[in-house]
């Protein structure tokens, strides 16, 4: 099926073709994962700096305050523009340079062809191109923070006219986004064609692991939702660089200066529509691969099939479809009338149904199980209540009347961080601990894993739980100094709790970093299938060679044939025919 002739041994390739400009999906997957983890760490560091200013407004940042440049800080104290720049870059980096490349580029690339029994992706060279375009985009984005104009400071949402008139790195941000979007588009074409056309014999759609379904739906979201943002980025670039007025209405007066050189006639809300048309499906892109990973880890560590596999599949497809028609729930406060807001409220309520179904199926999968509390399973189990909190707190935001009070407050920050931080990021950790043996042939240390998990779980809740209470109290987001506002001043204790939680959470990642690198060289060597799992990737050697499978696998059963009655082993790999 694949264009790629894999009969030549890859030991013939020079180092730079084998590890740098490789067309092998596993190498590309690792490249995406490592790059994304570095970007994630950088984005997290930006927030840790901001949390000092939040906890101790106006006071110099210890240790690194002096190193921050003139745009960001003065005398070691973060300034208003600096806070906004760090904030906008934090959001951008975490979403576009961290989570999506790790969840889709990293895990998707590495695991998906293996799980469908394919020798590689459908378009290996396109895959390599996707990674390098992403890399360039990432360098541009992060590089912007080290230029004279510094990074973008108008929120990751870049609302005009602020983003058009801002004097900072918004232009470079837009250029970087074009690269990142292009990378995503190329990647999503690859994922869809691979999943549909390269499945092994016997692997029908309803025998696919849920991880594959999740990645497939995610790929469709990326394919169809990103282009409007690419268009919008082009339009905003035109406004900033050429001086057009796509988003600039007539009569703008900036600090008593009338912007009479502009034609006017533009509409700031147009940007919001185009942006959120992508950005809402984007948040499902952030969560779906994570749900896929959690499903795999739960099935494996409960030693039984997932409950409601068909419901899971139909729900994830329906969720993907619905995600395209809820976007304006981010715009309820822009002055929209009752007709439009009713439509979007209704679709938002409807979309919560498949999410609830997916979560419920995963929880019910624990019933009648034989649960192994391995490190990946700890993260997977923690995901469930954390995602529940994140998802449920979306309800008061999705209803317009309650959104009046909660929109743009810390309640929103709490809501989405619960879904992405103890939600998706925990799923990422689960995936790393789970598939590390497949990629390296070695296991990560269990006790370091637990030392990573427990403090992370506790501190991540310490960071984000207070935010719901602050949001209810009316504390607004994107505030350089929360104490300027009465509610922010009164709830300053909660801000301190979040900040200290964040710094302790950072320390809790040290066992993970140590564990990860140490285990690559010194980890305990394990067999090809140390978790006794059923899905196809475990039938390949660890690490799989170029071309993945020594013999083309044939699939005989569903993905989660654990504890099959009448079979002595408690698992039946998909590529092994069941007796009788």
């Amino acid at each position: 099926m694949s264009d790629h002739a894999h009969s030549h041994g890859d030991h013939d390739l020079p180092f730079w073709k084998k590890y740098v400009f490789s067309v092998d999906h596993k190498v590309i997957g690792v490249q995406y994962a490592l790059t994304a983890l570095v970007f994630l760490f950088f984005g997290f560091s930006l927030m840790m700096i901001m949390r000092w200013q939040l906890a101790y407004p106006g006071r110099p940042i210890p240790l690194i305050g002096a190193m921050l440049s003139g745009t960001l800080a003065a005398d070691g104290v973060l300034v208003g523009d600096g806070y906004n720049i760090l904030g906008a870059m934090h959001g951008t980096i975490m979403v576009f340079l961290g989570i999506v490349p790790l969840a889709v580029g990293g895990f998707g690339n590495f695991v998906l062809p293996l799980q469908i029994g394919a020798p590689d992706m459908a378009f290996p060279r396109l895959n390599m191109a996707s990674y390098w375009v992403f890399f360039v985009g990432g360098v541009i984005m992060i590089g912007s923070m080290f230029t004279k104009t510094s990074g973008a400071g108008s929120g990751w949402t870049m609302y005009p006219p602020l983003a058009v008139t801002a004097a900072y790195g918004e232009t470079i941000w837009l250029v970087g986004m074009v690269f990142l979007i292009t990378s995503s588009l190329l990647g999503s074409v690859n994922f869809i064609v691979t999943t549909i056309q390269l499945r092994a014999r016997g692997l029908s759609f309803f025998r696919l692991p849920f991880f594959v379904w999740a990645q497939l739906v995610t790929a469709f979201l990326l394919l169809l939702a990103f282009p409007p943002l690419e268009a919008a980025a082009a339009l905003q670039l035109m406004d900033r660089v050429v001086g057009t007025s796509f988003f600039m209405p007539e009569g703008l007066v900036l600090s008593t200066v009338h912007l009479s050189h502009l034609s006017g006639g533009g509409n700031p809300v147009l940007w919001q529509h185009l942006f959120w048309f992508l950005a809402h499906p984007e948040v499902y892109v952030l969560i779906l691969p994570g749900m896929g990973i959690i499903a795999e880890v739960i099935a494996n560590n409960t030693r039984k099939p997932l409950w409601g596999y068909k419901s899971l599949v139909y729900s994830v497809i329906f969720l993907g479809f619905m995600s395209f028609i809820v976007w304006a729930h981010h715009m309820f406060m822009t002055g929209m009338g009752t007709t439009l807001s009713t439509f979007f409220q209704a679709t938002t309520m409807i979309i919560s149904v498949p999410s609830v179904i997916i979560l419920t199926c995963l929880i019910i999968s624990l019933y009648g199980a034989a649960i192994r509390f391995t490190v990946p399973m700890l993260f997977a189990l923690a995901f469930l209540p954390m995602f529940a909190i994140g998802g449920l707190t979306g309800l008061p935001l999705g209803l317009t009347a309650s959104d009046i009070q909660l929109h743009d407050t810390y309640y929103v920050i709490g809501h989405f961080h619960y879904v992405v931080a103890p939600g998706t990021i925990f799923a990422m950790f689960a995936g790393i601990y789970y598939w590390f043996p497949k990629a390296t042939g070695r296991k990560m240390s269990d006790w370091l894993g637990k030392l990573h998990f427990w403090p992370s779980f506790i501190f991540i809740n310490a960071v984000f739980m207070p935010m719901f209470f602050q949001g209810m109290a009316g504390v607004l987001r994107r505030q350089y100094d929360q104490t300027e506002q009465l509610a922010g001043a009164a709830s300053h204790g909660l801000t301190l709790m979040s900040s200290w939680g964040a710094w302790l959470l950072a320390l809790a990642q040290i066992p993970f970093i140590v564990n990860f690198f140490w285990s690559i060289w010194k980890g305990q060597r394990v067999s090809d299938n140390p978790w006794h799992a059923t899905t196809l990737e475990w039938a390949a050697p660890s690490p799989p060679p170029h071309g993945n499978f020594p013999a083309v696998p044939v699939v005989y059963s569903g993905p989660y044939e654990y504890s099959v009655p009448g079979v002595s082993e408690d698992f039946c790999p998909q590529n092994v025919a069941l007796e009788a």
Binding site: I192, Q197, V242, T244, S260, S263, G265
Partner: protein, 268 residues
Amino acid sequence: MEPHPITGMYNGKFGIWLFLASEVMLFGALFSTYILLRVGAPEGTWPQHGADILNVPLAAFNTVVLIGSSVTMVMAWAYLKMKRIGMGQLFLAATFLLAGTFLVVKYFEYTEKFHHYAVFLNARMAVEGYEGQVTTISGHLAADSPALTRASNTGAYQAPEFVILEPDPPKGGGDHPPVVRIDGAQIKRLSDFGPRHSTFLATYFTMTGLHGLHIVGGMIVIGYFLATGSRFASHNLDKYANRIECTGLYWHFVDLVWIFLFPVLYLL
């Protein structure tokens, strides 16, 4: 490259169709932008018809050229499927030339706009040759009009001391009004007919510009196949024909976008 039993397509073809789906979303977003901006435009800022400002004959010619290039593209693929490599490459070259023609015509269209100016006045003024009072006068700069400079921070033209304009004929038709001199103090804004002029022209340049970039992209791919095609075709003709088929699908899409762009921008 065998077609897959479920989709009936080989990998590359399926991939190109998916890519085209995303392109539909891209241009769809821009068409939606056009609609939203036009519907919300303040009175008088959007031309009644695109033809008032744009050069319809040139664009109509371009439409024929592009449709022609789609025809030659199909012919190229058909000849390759019939194993007639020479004819296939010939029609590929014809496609390339027609695409180039489109771009050259576009170049003339664009430069015409950049030498055409609009003066937006501070107050309504009576101007000889126009009915009633006007707030805008468009035309070409006379030879003795002072050179224009751009502000360094915004890039927009700065209002000069005065402007000597050869005005355009009035809307209903008629002669060119006599040359008029406009004082700097009367000028609210001076702009060429580039993207800065109005949201209509901003939309026009962005949409046709992005479309033009797609033509350039297509030409690069076609050019690559023109250069390397004979060798590739003699090595594996089936695969080569498939590559050309995929390129053709992309090319037809680019043509289709123009078939929507032309009436929407120029005729409506």
